[in-house]
Symmetry: C2
Subunit: 146 residues, 2 copies
């Protein structure tokens, strides 16, 4: 495994409240104004790209990304899920998993574009504990489903 | 399989020059000023979300996304790869696979943010045929590597 990088914010801190983790990766809840249904799935070791992982590591990480998507869909019923692995500023492999709503600040634009409105959409209030449980259940369903 | 939707631009047209395809999905080359190393991987059937696919379909699609990433990395040697499945405007499952360069119009911002510069980075000239071949080779390596 690559060594933690003292200058990397995803090597030195969790990056948010941890919803689920194993020895390889973690799901964290992101604090982003206007976007309460926003998680990140972070690979624990400091690697930059999906193709820096081997195929089984990639499947392990994507399984968690899709379980997080399923958990957000189940409890938020969003208009759309946005998935992105960018990392131009923090080149430590992490996925944004964002539930989007028709009235959110940027919809239908990506959240990185200029905002279209300042007021926030009405977004369901889902507890951290509910999300935690939903990720566990989605992972179990995925294991049963294939 | 879901029926093609007459109003959906990814149901009614390829969306760009096809680099690779099978019965389920295709890789197309995107024409985007300033971003010559930009592909999309499109699921052929009209579904919106990754979790609308079953687990084996998801793996099939992601294998092609990562082969496309590997092909772009091999020939363009970018600063970073950006992967994104958004679809807020065209809710037909497709992945953006974008090679990013330190001097490109938005770097290190996402390409959907406001541009930081108008001039273009010096980006290697790679032929369509070279990319086609690189995707085939990356798929073959993935099959051999796991």
């Amino acid at each position: 495994m690559n060594r933690p990088l003292p200058s990397c914010e995803l090597c030195t801190a969790a990056g948010g409240e941890i919803l689920w983790q194993d020895g390889l990766c973690r799901v964290i809840q992101v604090v982003e104004p206007g976007y309460p249904a926003f998680c990140r799935v972070v690979w624990n070791a400091h690697v930059a790209e999906m193709t820096d992982l081997d195929a089984s590591e990639r499947r392990h990480l994507m399984r968690l990304v899709f379980a997080t998507e399923a958990a957000l869909r189940r409890h938020y019923r969003p208009a759309k899920i946005n998935l992105a692995s960018l990392g131009n500023v923090v080149p430590h492999l992490h996925w944004h998993v964002i539930a989007r709503f028709a009235g959110d600040r940027h919809f239908p634009r990506p959240i990185w574009a200029e905002a279209l409105r300042q007021e926030d959409a009405v977004i369901p209030d889902v507890t951290t504990e509910t999300l935690r449980q939903a990720i566990i259940e989605a992972l179990a369903e995925e294991d049963g489903g294939t």
